[in-house]
Amino acid sequence: MDITVNGTLHSLDLPDDTPLLWALRDGLGITGVKYGCGIAQCGACTVHIDGQAVRSCQVALGDTWGDVTTIEGLSAPDALHPVQQAWIAHQVAQCGYCQSGQIMQAVDLLSLNPTPTDEDIDQVMSGNLCRCATYPRIRAAIHTAASMMREA
C-alpha cells in the first residue's frame, strides 16, 4: 500500500483495512498523531488529507484518498505555522495529548473561515476534546492566529 505522508511516499505492508491512525503510528513511527478513542469521538487523531481535517482513526488505509499531513509536516521547525506560533504565544498546551489534533483542526477551520467568531470556533472545535480543559486558550490562540494570517 503506497501512501504519501508529509511529502514522502511510503510503501506499507499492512492490511488495507488498517486504520490510518495505526498505519501512521505503528507502520511509520509518526507519533504526533494520538489515539484517544478510535471511534471519532475525541479528535486526538486528527490529520489532514489533501488539506482537510479528518479523524485518522476512521479512515481505512486503503481508502486514504489523498496526501496525508500530520503535525510533523505542518511546517518547518524554523518557520512554524501561525497556528503553532499562536499556540506557543498563548501557552495553550497543558499535558499536550490532544493538542496536535486541536492544531490540525484549527488550521482547517481557519482555511475555511479566516475570521471566525467565538461561536464559529466553539462549533467547529467541539469534536476535539481536551481533558485538561484548555478550551479558553484554544479559542484565544485561534483568534490570534487568524489575525496573524490576515496580516501576513
Binding site: 483495512d17 478510535g38 471511534i39 471519532a40 469521538q41 486528527t46 482537510q52 481535517a53 479528518v54 479523524r55 482513526c57 476512521q58 479512515v59 481505512a60 481508502d63 484518498w65 483542526q105 482547517d108 477551520l109 475555511l112 473561515n113 464559529d120 466553539d122 462549533q123 467547529v124 467541539s126 469534536g127
Partner: protein, 207 residues
C-alpha cells in the same frame, strides 16, 4: 403476499447490484403500472413510512436548522453530539464537513459507536426531504411530488433504490447499519418491492 400478487415469471434473470451483505436485489417480479389495487398500495405506503420514520432514516432527514440527530427508537429527538450543524450545504461545508469523521467507503461498518460510513459521501438529505416532524400523509405527498423529491417520477423512485444499492448508499446502509445500530424495518428487497407496489398504483397517499 408479494409472491401471490406477482408470480415469478423470469424472462432472463433480473438481479440488480448487490448490497454489503452480498444479497442481490431481485427485480424480476416487480409489478406493472395499473396492476395494483389501492388498498394494497396504501398498505405498501404504510411499510414505506415505517422505514422513512425510523430514526435510522430520520436522523439525516432533518429540517432547515441542519442539525442531524442521534435519535434512537427510545429517544428519537436526541441531537447529534459535538454541536454539529451541517448548514445550508447539508455537508458542513462552512465549518467542519461530515467527512471529517464519516468516510466514503463500502467497507462494512464493524466498529460499534464509530462514525458510520457508506459508499456515498456523508450528507443530510436535501431540506425538501424533511421527514422529522412530518406526518405520514405529508411525507407521502412530498415523496410523490417531483418538485420536492429530486425530480423523480414513479420509475425514478424505484431506480433511486436500485442506484443506491449499486453505490451501497444511505438506503442500503439503513437496513444494514452495522455494529450497535438498529436497522430500518424490513430489508432493502422488501423496501424495493413496496416502492414498486406503491408507485405502480399511482402513489396513493393516506388522508
Amino acid at each position: 403476499m408479494y409472491k401471490t400478487l406477482f408470480p415469478l415469471v423470469l424472462i432472463g434473470t433480473a438481479f440488480a447490484a448487490t448490497a454489503e451483505t452480498g444479497q442481490p436485489l431481485d427485480i424480476s417480479a416487480l409489478p406493472e403500472p395499473g396492476s395494483i389495487d389501492a388498498s394494497d398500495a396504501l398498505a405498501a405506503w404504510d411499510r414505506i413510512h415505517d422505514v422513512a420514520s425510523h430514526p435510522r432514516c430520520l436522523n439525516c432527514h432533518v429540517g432547515e436548522d441542519g442539525i442531524p440527530l442521534w435519535g434512537t427508537v427510545a429517544q428519537p429527538d436526541r441531537p447529534h453530539g459535538m454541536a454539529i450543524v451541517a448548514g445550508d450545504s447539508r455537508i458542513g461545508a462552512a465549518g467542519w464537513s461530515c467527512r471529517t469523521c464519516h468516510q466514503t467507503s463500502t467497507r462494512p461498518n464493524r466498529v460499534e459507536h464509530a462514525a458510520p460510513h457508506t459508499g456515498m459521501d456523508w450528507q443530510l438529505a436535501p431540506v425538501d426531504f424533511q421527514w422529522v416532524g412530518r406526518t405520514s400523509a405529508e411525507i407521502c405527498q412530498q415523496m410523490r411530488d417531483p418538485d420536492r423529491n429530486g425530480g423523480r417520477d414513479a420509475a425514478g423512485l424505484v431506480e433511486h433504490i436500485l442506484h443506491d444499492a449499486e453505490l451501497i448508499g444511505f438506503i442500503t446502509w439503513s437496513f444494514d447499519p452495522g455494529a450497535g445500530r438498529a436497522p430500518a424495518p424490513g430489508s432493502l428487497q422488501s423496501h424495493l418491492e413496496d416502492m414498486a407496489i406503491w408507485t405502480a398504483a399511482g402513489m396513493p397517499c393516506p388522508q
